[in-house]
Amino acid sequence: MATKNLPFANMDSALHPAGRLSLSRATVTLAVMLVVHGLTKSYAGPRPRAVFAGVDMELAPGDYVAVMGESGSGKSTLLNLIAGLDSADEGSIKLDGTELTALDDDALTALRRKRMGFVFQAFHVLPYLTVAQNVALPLSLLGVAGSEADARVAGMLAGVGLSERGASMPRELSGGELQRVAIARALVHGPQLVLADEPTGNLDAETASQVLSLLREQIKANGAAGILVTHSRVAALTCDRILQLTLAGLRELTLQ
């Protein structure tokens, strides 16, 4: 991996006056990890509609960017394409030099399993598994089990402040806590890229800001890159960069 972790904590938190983040490391970019070029997507059907065209985007290891846009502008669609869950009309998506559009479903699935983590608006924590079992899911899919898995799950739960809740059932948790479980699940297997689609859409403002800080903190702490899809400016401000999605493509906004 073309990433090198460096202790740039102070500089990082200086960028984000809102979050007093206790980061132990930050990342410095030596190369580009994700390259999206000329991505065009439209939905077929009785009333075909173009969602976006000519989207370009680059993401370096350790980058944490926000994608903003109005509702219906295609933010989720873009994330689905990057995750290999939907196919583009045109354009290319390269992750670490691998062209995703050329891969078949099994290869894409394996790629997601190893290198990606997901956080959803509606949490999607399995109701009949304990919190710890939910967090362990990606590990179990990767064949990591036993004490190694237990240790990583415990570490993750501690990271998101749920050390005591490992044996709880999801229905005993609040929405904010559920999203923390989801964050732990997204990062437990050490993915390169975390995709979060409106992760605070179902939360109140205060809880949302806590979850956003935690998400950033954990992404950085685990040396991953992240894309946060949101329509909220406040949320977007927790990222390193902000991109605006329009019909014409992605445009970088300058932080005010």
């Binding site: 394996a110 997901f118 109701p127 598994l129 229905r171």
Partner: protein, 837 residues
């Protein structure tokens, strides 16, 4: 109710029925199938019994009382004594017999009457005829229209009957008046006596009493004066007696059909329970909007009623056509041989129609009751949250009610029959079934905790999820547990019966060749000369003869069979399959008889008891020296030494013979010799034991064919239930699959997860169903069969077919689970994970 609220309810509920179209249709079909089976069975057996009663009513005319006795008749000298009694207005002697037709395997009921006497008692039997003297001629008979049709004769034609081994031909002088379905022929009583070797004997006297005579008081007085073996009773009592032979069989069929209906109810329960769980949030919303608990329950019950009404309507129509097809194809007794002479018309009566309609609706509503109550009880707030579904099932969990129900079932199985029916036995089966279903959540938890957690991620996840939500698994299981247990218990019962029957046949058929005078009817027999000729045939080393008679021991029951046969007391077990110890009467004690198991159950003829049996009009004491197994005569049978029988009755005729061949002699050779050397020998039926065995087992399989069909119906309904539950659960979990696909599970892995879930759940259902089925089979064999048909059998489990069916059910349900998953894994569904809940 507030208008807006009603509207909200309608939107939610109608929407759900429409949304679950496939499942609603399945529920309707399951109820329809149960109603159709139940109604068809009721329609057919009801019509047959009704026909039987009408027949007796018609044939006995205006008689107030009937004097009956042994099947072969009694001394006619009793008739003038009865006719002279002060209370009797008119008496009519009757010779009634089933005559064997000479050149076909059929029989025809012959009623010999004295026209002048009959005119006063059974006017309906006296036919119109151009030549009034035909009524008195001994060589004529009047056939009923149905008999004429089925035998293909017309007035002026003739019919040949077998008497002993001779043929007797009678001319058809006219048609007897009778309604469309009764097959019989009327002839002059003297002619009947002469033609059918009944000289000096009659089988019945019908009495019409003078006005004002107390029928029952007179009946009791007369009974006390009648010779042994004769009984006087109202004509209706005869209907009951002939009905009672088939009653247990009919009740058994009805119960089986009800089980199919019950399984349909369980399907409604599973469907509704899962549908309600999935709509918890919607209901909570309604409750928040101000719908009361009662209103919610009523609406959900209305849903069940709707399913029930549709199912019942469909089922009644289907049942009617099913019954018509069944009567045409396999006969009114489903091939069991109880109503061979009847061709009933099926007329839908309002009462059974209403009853089965009601049953279908009630069962469907009961199926929705528990889920409806649960939906109403749920506190609205937590129900609005995901993952709360399992709470809906938590209520089903305490185990004591289930255990108590099972214990009650066990106790009920020890109770005696009621009115000759194993009602407590059926009750025991129902209790065992319901108790087990109540325990299912517990059993599911227990079994899931025993199953080791697999290593592979998909199956591991499947098991973890099932352990987290055992209640849902248990609900989907209700229908499959019920139907599997039914299948298993019936299979064990039928296999036990068949194996025991086979062993019995082997035991009771030790000779090389069996000969009988005819397969049916009372008129064929072998005379002393015939017997001597048969015994002297070349190739015959030894011949034993048997005379079969039918005695009336209890006028409210069918006649019992008396078998007068060569009995070698020293070698008894070679001839009879004894199920008791064998005893020799003490010196001075009455001589021995050996009775079948039914005699013990019905008449209390226990081993060692001294009993009185009316033979030749005289009560004779005997000692019960042994009890034997008998699958042929559930009405009761008594074996007596032939020499003793001859000494008592002077009757040396025989109906059956068993022949042992000389070394080197072949069955065919003896059979040819009988044909050529014995006058009328071609009318004898000759069979090797192998043929009889094969024939009997075929008849057995035919009788149980309808049982298999009902069993299959129950299993199909159970599988429907399972697949519908899976479908519902999978649909409810679409977003879960979407999430799993996101985090890197392949389609195949999700398929494997679903297959594991399906197989595990079904496996639990099979384990529970097999255990319960085995218990139920014990009740069927030891209680239901014993009390219904009075036959004992050894329990044997048909492992191979049962294992095969279990694997088939497992495979089908796994495939079902996979198939439901396919739908849920479409690309659209995967992206659905981004939708709001």
């Amino acid at each position: 109710m507030h208008k807006a609220k009603v509207y909200a309810l309608q939107v939610v509920l109608a929407g759900s029925l429409a949304q679950n179209k496939a499942r609603s249709v399945l529920s309707v079909l399951a109820i329809a199938l149960g109603v159709a089976l139940g109604y068809a069975v009721q329609l057919i057996t009801g019509a047959a019994v009704n026909e039987l009663a009408l027949g007796v009513q018609f044939l006995s005319g205006d008689a107030d009382l009937q004097v009956r006795g042994p099947r072969s008749g009694f001394d006619e000298a009793i008739y003038p004594k009865l006719a002279r009694l002060r209370e009797v207005a008119a008496a009519s002697p009757v010779v009634e017999l089933d005559a064997k037709l000479a050149d076909r395997s059929d029989t025809l009921k012959i009623i010999g009457i004295d026209v002048f006497r009959a005119a006063a008692v059974q006017p309906g039997l006296v036919a119109d005829s151009a030549d009034r003297l035909d009524h008195l001629r001994s060589d004529t008979l009047f056939v009923s229209p149905a008999a004429a049709r089925s035998l293909g004769v017309d007035v002026g034609g003739s019919l040949s009957f077998q008497v002993a081994l001779r043929a007797v031909t009678l001319r058809v002088a006219g048609l007897a008046t009778a309604d469309a379905h009764q097959r019989f022929a009327v002839t002059d009583i003297a002619g009947a006596q002469e033609n059918f070797d009944r000289l000096g004997r009659i089988t019945r006297v019908d009495l019409r009493l003078k006005a004002g005579v107390d029928v029952d008081a007179f009946r009791d007085r007369l009974q006390a004066e009648l010779p042994a073996g004769l009984a006087v009773q109202r004509p209706e009592a005869g209907v009951k007696a002939s009905e009672s032979l088939s009653r247990s069989y009919r009740v058994n069929l009805n119960i089986l059909a009800l089980v199919a209906l019950f399984t349909g109810g369980l399907l409604v329960f599973s469907t509704q329970a899962l549908a309600v769980v999935r709509r918890r949030a919607q209901f909570a919303l309604l409750r928040v909007l101000g719908v009361t608990r009662r209103q919610l329950v009523m609406w959900l019950m209305a849903e069940g009623a709707l399913v029930g009404i549709a199912g019942s309507t469909l089922g009644l129509a289907g049942g009617f056509f099913l019954a018509q097809a069944a009567v045409r194809i396999i006969g009114a007794d489903f091939g069991a041989g109880y109503f061979r002479d009847l061709a009933p018309t099926l007329t839908p009566a309002p009462l059974p129609l209403a009853l089965f309609f009601f049953l279908g609706v009630v069962i469907a509503m009961l199926g929705s009751l528990a889920p409806a109550l649960e939906a109403a009880r749920a506190p609205p707030a937590p129900a609005l949250k995901a993952g709360d579904d399992e709470r809906a099932f938590a209520r089903l969990r305490p185990s004591w009610p289930g255990l108590v129900t099972i214990a009650a079932g066990a106790i009920a199985s020890f109770a005696p029959p009621i009115a000759g029916l194993p009602l407590f036995g059926y009750g025991a089966i129902a209790l065992l079934l319901i108790g087990t279903l109540m325990l299912m959540p517990r059993l599911a938890v227990l079994m899931l905790s025993i199953v080791p957690t697999p290593r592979g991620a998909p199956s591991r996840l499947a098991l973890l999820q099932l352990r987290g939500a055992p209640g849902q698994a248990a609900v989907s299981l209700a229908a499959i547990v019920a139907s599997v247990s039914l299948m298993v218990s019936m299979a064990i019962m039928v296999a036990s019966f068949r194996i025991s029957l086979d062993a019995w046949l082997e035991r009771v058929l030790p000779a090389d060749v069996y000969v009988r005078a005819s397969a049916a009817g009372d008129t064929a027999y072998m005379t002393v000369d015939d017997q001597a000729r048969i015994a002297a045939l070349p190739g015959v080393r030894r011949a034993e003869f048997l005379r079969e008679q039918q005695l009336l021991l209890d006028p409210s029951r069918p006649r019992v069979v008396l078998l007068a046969r060569t009995i070698d007391a020293a070698n008894l077990t070679r001839q009879l399959q004894l199920v008791s110890a064998q005893m020799t009467p003490a010196p001075g004690a009455p001589p021995p008889v050996w009775v079948n198991e039914a005699m013990v159950d019905l008449y209390g003829f226990v081993l060692g008891s001294v009993v009185e049996i009316p033979i030749a009009g005289k009560p004779t004491a005997f000692t019960v020296a042994g009890v034997w197994r008998d699958y042929a005569r559930p009405q009761g049978a008594i074996a007596i030494e032939r020499e003793r029988y001859i000494a008592l009755t002077g009757d040396r005729s025989a109906t059956n013979a068993a022949l042992w061949l000389a070394p080197g002699a072949a069955v065919e050779q003896v059979s040819r010799a009988i044909d050529s050397d014995i006058p009328g020998g071609s009318r004898l039926e000759i069979a090797a034991p192998g043929e009889i065995r094969e024939f009997s087992l075929k008849a057995f399989d035919r009788t149980f064919a309808v049982t298999y069909a009902l069993e299959l119906a129950a299993v199909v309904i159970g599988l429907f239930g399972l697949s519908s539950s899976f479908g519902a659960l999978v649909l409810a979990r679409r977003r879960e699959f979407g999430m799993l696909r996101h985090i890197g599970m392949t389609r195949r892995q999700i398929g494997a997860m679903l297959a594991t879930e399906g197989a595990t759940v079904t496996g639990i259902g099979l384990v529970a169903g097999f255990g319960l089925g085995w218990l139920i089979s014990l009740v069927l064999v030891q209680v239901v069969n014993r009390q219904s048909f009075h036959w004992g059998m050894e329990l044997s489990v048909p492992w191979a077919p049962l294992t095969g069916s279990a694997l088939l059910v497992l495979a089908l349900s796994t495939i079902t689970a996979l198939a439901s998953g396919r739908h849920a894994m479409s690309a659209r569904a995967v992206l659905a994970v981004k939708e709001d809940w």
